[in-house]
């Protein structure tokens, strides 16, 4: 059961937080992505030539958007919910008549909103450097939304288990970032040796990245439907998992 007023309250609180700490949430992606576009897009990209029919800066744009969305959605929820646990302010929610689904949806929508905001920032930055084509807008939007929600859920899962601030930085630093870079942000996996192409197919982020690239450029190394199916399946799995843990009071109740 969803308590809609409580849901709006959580989402509003999360949005206020995102804007209150904008130098940590909105500014870094703009600066980092500008550097990516200048260095990889212009300086190096001008020597690479066309990839799948697009110049290199256009080819990497979808991957950079998706990478930013994934990392920011994850970081927003893991940091916000863990901070609430750390300061015990999560008790404000625990004592109130707010269902587990409302809490989960509220926090993860906060992650989705931050993901979409920074995604939009990267799109704007990209458009300053090159023409940004959008071939299948609806596909692009759907995969972006589902990916942002999936990684918000993963961030929530991380926060439930975290006991220290180190615990919420391990997964982004040592799992998410490498998988994202290896998921084809800067290259088509066709460029990899055959054995590594097989390994790359075990990386779930590859499918999300290519699903989004299909939406923007109309080209992809793997079927966009596979990406969509994986992100929906994984989202449902994480949502049920987080709900079950919240219901049990994992990390929240003694």
């Amino acid at each position: 059961m969803i308590n809609w007023v409580a849901l709006k309250t959580i989402v509003r609180k999360e949005c206020v937080r995102i804007f209150r700490i904008w130098p940590q949430t909105l500014l870094p992606p703009a600066i980092t992505m500008s550097l990516y576009f200048v260095i990889f897009g212009h300086v190096i990209g001008s020597r690479i030539g066309l990839v799948d029919g697009y110049n290199y800066i256009q080819f990497i744009a979808p991957g950079l958007v998706m990478m930013t969305v994934i990392l920011n959605a994850y970081a927003n929820v893991s940091a916000s919910f863990f901070s609430a646990k750390f300061t015990h302010s999560v008790q404000e929610l625990m004592v109130a008549p707010v269902s587990e689904w409302t809490i989960l949806l509220g926090y993860t929508l906060g992650g989705v909103i931050r993901g979409l905001m920074v995604g939009a920032v990267v799109m704007v930055v990209a458009s300053l450097f090159t023409h940004v084509p959008i071939q299948h807008f609806f596909s692009m939007l759907v995969i972006l939304l589902i990916s942002a929600w999936l990684f918000s859920l993963a961030g929530f899962f991380n926060a439930l288990f975290a006991n220290t601030f180190d615990d919420i930085s391990i997964i982004p630093n040592f799992v998410l970032t490498p998988l994202t870079y290896l998921g084809g942000v800067f290259y088509s996996i066709q460029a990899l040796p055959p054995a590594w192409q097989i390994v790359a197919h075990f990386n779930p982020i590859l499918y999300l990245m290519n699903g989004f690239r299909y939406g923007m450029l109309g080209v992809a190394d793997v079927s966009p439907w596979v990406g969509l199916s994986i992100s929906i399946g994984a989202s449902v799995f994480f949502a049920m998992l987080c709900y079950g843990l919240l219901k049990r009071g994992k990390g929240l109740r003694t």
């Binding site: 309250t9 609180k13 300061t87 625990m94 109740r253 003694t254």
Partner: protein, 309 residues
């Protein structure tokens, strides 16, 4: 009159194996001002944690105005306002936002939440601080903010876990007046406190809990009636070398100019004064050695005053 809180056979065993509550039964009537007294580690916070859903019970039942926390938890929560022992704010949020957000969690729409938050902050003298971030507030202000936050959704049962701990006397007394007013308006109040004077002044009924068990549950008036005597400290106007030997009174010298005397149930202060007068001792002043409730508490639990403060 209906029951605000009904507890039956409440048991809590922590993962460590510690049995914090050993089958507690308790009933608090609507409109009551009820105190739960106990030394540190008695099980008070576990009890309040279970009622407020911060601690999972092992067995037993808890009903809030008839709503079971097992079957009807959201309705039960809606009726409760909690003031925890420790500050549990997001210290980066503004005072007004804390209260408005809490109202939102209870389903109060934003505009109405702002109006109710303003009323609560005005009553607790925090309206001027509405735009200050919580971390800049003093300890007393934070304590009042926790009360405002607990009241903003207009609960029927207010639970306060040592609300006046570490608060200066002036603020403590102003909070007493405020809580008394709320109770007179019909709000049921459940209080845990280390200040026994607080219980004697404010509360109608009391339960004494120790080692996870309720030792006694009755009205404060009736409990004080159980006193079978008290110990008085008397300051005298002369220097004494030894305690006077008074008929019927046990008398001890605690300093050259003060005495400690046990007054039994059937003895009066007049009897004592007459005996002292006959012994040629004049009294300058008189006071109780313990607060009367403290004395009862110590007798019932076997703990010292230091254990509860």
């Amino acid at each position: 009159m209906s029951q605000a809180l009904t507890i039956e056979n409440l048991v809590k065993v922590y993962q460590s194996g510690k049995m914090a509550l050993k089958g507690i039964n308790l009933s608090i009537a609507e409109g009551d001002f009820f105190a739960l007294l106990g030394p540190n580690g008695a099980g008070k916070s576990t009890f309040i944690g279970i009622v407020s859903s911060l601690v999972t019970k092992t067995s037993g039942s808890v009903r809030v105005f008839g709503h079971s926390i097992d079957d009807d938890i959201l309705k039960a929560k809606q009726l409760i306002g909690i003031v925890p022992q420790e500050f549990n704010f997001n210290i980066f949020m503004k005072t007004l936002d804390i209260v408005v957000t809490q109202a939102g969690y209870y389903g109060v729409p934003y505009r109405q939440a702002k109006e109710q938050a303003e009323a609560c902050l005005q009553q607790l003298g925090l309206w001027e601080k509405r735009n200050d971030v919580v971390r800049s507030l003093s300890g007393g202000m934070k304590r009042r903010l926790m009360i405002a936050r607990a009241l903003v959704h207009q609960p029927k049962l207010l639970i306060l876990d040592e609300p006046t701990a570490g608060v200066d006397i002036e603020l403590r007394r102003s909070l007493w007046v405020y809580l008394e007013k709320l109770n007179q308006q019909g709000l049921t109040v459940l209080l845990t406190t280390h200040y026994l004077e607080e219980v004697e002044i404010l509360c109608k009924n009391v339960a004494i809990i120790d080692n996870g068990e309720i030792l006694v549950e009755k009205s404060v008036h009736s409990l004080l009636g159980d006193l079978t005597g008290e110990t008085l400290i008397l300051d005298v106007d002369s220097i004494l070398l030894e305690a006077p030997k008074l008929e019927h009174f046990a008398c001890r010298l605690i300093s050259p100019d003060s005495l400690e005397v046990d007054l039994l149930e059937h003895q009066t202060v007049n009897d004592l004064f007459q005996a002292l007068d006959a012994a040629g001792i004049r009294i300058l002043s008189l006071r109780n050695k313990f607060n009367r409730l403290e004395e009862l508490f110590i007798r019932l639990t076997g703990h010292t005053v230091e254990d509860i403060t």
